[in-house]
Every structure is written in C-alpha cells, then in structure tokens.
Amino acid sequence: MAKMKFNFHPPLAITLLILGFFVFVPMISAFEYSIRTPIEGGYGWNNYLWAIREEEFLYYILRSMWLAGITVIITLFVLVPTLTWIHLSNSKVRGLIDGLSLLPLVIPVVAFAVGAQISFPDFVQNTVLELPFLYFVLALPYAYRALDIGLNAIPLKTITEAARSSGANWLRTITTVIIPVIRGSVMATIALTFALSLGEFTLTVLLHWDTFPTWVTFVAQENILGAIAISMMSLIIPFLILTIITLFVPERSTQGRK
C-alpha cells in the first residue's frame, strides 16, 4: 500500500461535509439510538442481543443473501457477454440498448410490480426465484454502466482477437481474459447488484414475498429499537462480506502505470 499524504482540498472537504451530513450523521444517530436501553437508562447491547436471539433473524438474512447472490449471477451471466458483443459489434443498437438500460430508473417500482402480478404466469409467481430476475432489472442501470465503463477502458477488440487467435473459444475468452482484465468493473457490478438486491423492499412487499427488509419492518411494529439494531447489522454484515470478497479475490496488476 502506498503511503498516502492528506492535504486539505476545498472541493473534497465540501463533498465530505455533504456526505457526512446526509449519510454519516443519520447513521451514527441511528446507531446511538439502537444502543439505548430505555428501561435501565444509559447504553447497552440489549437490542442487538434481542435481535440475534430472534430465530427468524438468521433465516431472513440468509434468504435475502442467497436471493442477492442469484441476482449477481444472473446479472454477470447476462450482461458480460451482451455488453462484450455490443462493444465488439459497434452496431447501431448500442445507443438503443444504452437507453433501454436506463428504463428501470424511470418506471415506478409500483407500476413494475403491478404489471408483473398481472402478466406473469402462476408458475413464475409461485416461486421466490422470480425475485432475482426482477432485482436484476432494478439493478440493470447501475450494473450496465459499471461494466460499460470497464469495457470502454480496455482495447477490447484487440485482446479479444488475440485470445481467439491463440486458441480461446468465446467462453474462455470471456472467462480467462475479459473478466480478469475488467476485474474492477466486475467487482463494482457485484457490489452494486448485491447491495441493491439485499435492500429491496417495495417490489418484494408488493409481490407478497418476505425477505430481510420486509421482516425488519414487521419487527419494527413491536420493537423499534430492535428493528434499528437489526438494520444496523444488515448494513454491517453485507459490508463485511463484500470487503472479504474484495480482499480474497487475488489482486492482479491490470492498470498501466507509466
């Protein structure tokens, strides 16, 4: 790790100030609130201990995590080959697909959920596996852009052709060359998709599924402090998981330092 020296930069200070005010202050306040013990007075871990003892806590957090995991797999499986193709073909559909990928941002989730309920056949609506596919659509604008930036930053055509003329078929070109070269983008896509899926509430509730976020709101009705404790943990646990993933995927030098 390079030694970093911090200098004072006004634009950076302003960014940190705004970020601090709107993100860190509410988070710290929520944390402070969650460790209050109103009956005994003062602070303690009672609410966290209560939350962990709730037998449904583990069930719902695991359920949300595997749904998020499947969403990540669907996202990579669909988007990496598609975007590679779009970039290589240089086709006019690129602008169209770029635009389409933004649609989930402008369509209200409520409309989306109702539409899904009306149009999807029963066998789809009867399985919780409909959620990862819908989460994929919700995460599409972010995942698409993260991968798009990565693919734009590399000489995709040349290294793809080099891989193919060296004997790699398309699958191996994508898995052994393209994904490792845009590793940073792929990690960002995984993080964004995972976080978005894990926290998705509106769509899940409208389609009558129970996941971790919907369970937390249910719990909040009887124990608001416990619900906040649960939410704090739900922030920290995925954060730890993502940190571990990032640390354990072997670091390889991909950036040209001139």
């Binding site: 290294i159 052709e161 003329s165 060296s166 060359v177 070269v181 590793r183 030098s253 950036q255």
Partner: protein, 346 residues
Amino acid sequence: MSSKSLTLSGISKRFGNVTALDNFNLEVGVGELVALLGPSGCGKTTALRVVAGLEHQDKGTVLVADKNISDVPAHKRNMGMVFQAYSLFPNLTVEENVAFGLQMRKVNKTVRLKKAHELLDMVGLDSQSKRFTHQLSGGQQQRVALARALAFEPEILLLDEPLSALDAQVRVNLREEIRRLQLSLGTTTLFVTHDQEEAMSISDRVGVMNEGVLEQIDTPDALYNKPASAFVAGFVGTMNRIPAQIADGMVEIFGSKVVALKRGNESGHVLALIRPESISVVANSAAPNAKVLTRSFMGASSNIVCQTTDGTIIQSLMTSASTGDLHPGSSVQLHVLSSEVLVANA
C-alpha cells in the same frame, strides 16, 4: 516442423458498399515469408484477417496445406498472430502471456512454462518473464506478442503491421529479429505492412495490392526492377514521372530516344517512369536543360533535385563523388542512363 503452405483462391469480401477484396488469389509456400504491401484501404489487412478467421469471406476458399479451412472458427485455426496495437493480456505476466496459447490447448503448466521460457529466450526477454506487460517498452511488448504467437507452434504466422507503432530504430531491429526467428523456425509467414522498406527488406516475396486486387507478387528485386504496372512502379521505390510523347514505340527523354515499355495500351502523350539512379546530372554542359534546386548529401550517395526548363521536378541519385560541382542554381544537363523506360498514361 508444423509449418504448412497457405492458399487463398477467389476471395471476395465487401463491407457495405466498399469492396475490400475482389477475387483475391495468393499462394504462400512452406517456410516462406510473403509480405502484402499497399496503401491504406487496399485490402491487405482484410486478407490477413480472412486467413486468421477474424473476418469471413463472402466468396472463395482458404487452404492450409490441402485442407479447406474456409469455415473453421478463428480459435481452431492454429495460426499465430501479432497485431499492430499492443495486444498483450494486461492481467497476465509476460510468461503467462506467452504460455496462453498452450494453456488453451490444455498443455500442462510445467511444459507450457518451459516452452514460454524457450521463446522468451529467443526474443531476448527471458529476464522479464515475471513482469507485467505494462512494465515493458513498446518494442519489448511486441517481442512478447511475437513469442506468444509462436509458442504453440502455429501452422502459419500472421503479422498485422506489427512494427508501425514503434520508434524507427526499434522498428529496424525488430524486423530483422522477426526475419531471423522466422528463418530459424521455418514458419510460413504472411506479413502485412504499408512500409515498402519493411516489406522489401525481410520478405522472400512481396505482393503489392491496390483496391482489393493483387497487382503483382514477386521477389523484391523483380518488383523494383520489373514492375508489372505503373501503380507498382510508383509505389515501390521512388520514381520520376516525366511527360513524354510515344512515337514508333520510342519516347524522347532529355533529347535522347529510348524504348517505351508498355504495360497497357499507352499511346500519345504519356508519363515516362524513371528511377532516380537512372538519371545522371552533368554540370558545365554546353546544352543545359535543367537547373539544380537542392543537393542532399547522404554519405556514399547524394540526392539531386532539379527542375527542367518545362518545369518538371526530377530526382537523381548519384555517387557523392560525382556531384561535387553541383550547387543549387547551377545549370546542368540531364541524361537517361537506361535504354528502355516504363510508360504510363498521363
């Protein structure tokens, strides 16, 4: 030796309205190095990419030895390719890059790394094997790319302007290294370039292309001395274009009559194509027909640029010893040294 011969017959390829290759034919013998030379957009790169399987021809067949590979996908063609742009995999070390082709062929790690080191040793980069590619200079990167293309013992080596992104000195060194490796491994090689010096200096034969058609393919000497068309004559080496009139199969140049060599149906007013070394400049003549504009001293030889009385600019290449008394502004007499000249339609 795994090297094979290459035959392209009747290859046509269009991109929209542009005809890149028009009934293109080419044969490259086992172990031969053939260069395709031509201006940009002449179809030379398309021809190479069709051989590699990176483009699919609209018509025609590609044969390696006697096997038709026209519809074989690129990754099954067993052809090593070096690209113009740096094409190394940035996530792999130098040795992993070179071993990549063997890895794709499921060769075990010990064997493929051994082979990679052999090749890196051949291009003089074995000491850099653990480094990442961005830590290498441009010339070193192209050497690694060459090693990578040769490591899996390809049937054909394809070079797509591999030197054009490099500095002049590195370019000369690397082209000689390519030739040395190619000769020692005996790999059949197709080399695409727009640089005639590059093509002429290392190739067994050079094919000059224009507008999707092979104008002439021959040894560098033959191309230079016996160009088959005015285009080839103009593209390979420097050529003076002197207006003249054909009469009875002869043209009059600087007052002397020489035989006109026609490649088509040239007649009447034509351009005589004459190499600079076939024109001599004589000072202190009784009947001057030109003035010296510049004299560039280049060591053993000097380049004299003159202007004739009718305004034509003429270049002459002479030994420096014989040009001592030629100065800008001197009145001189030009002579044609050859007894026959190629003519083209004006």
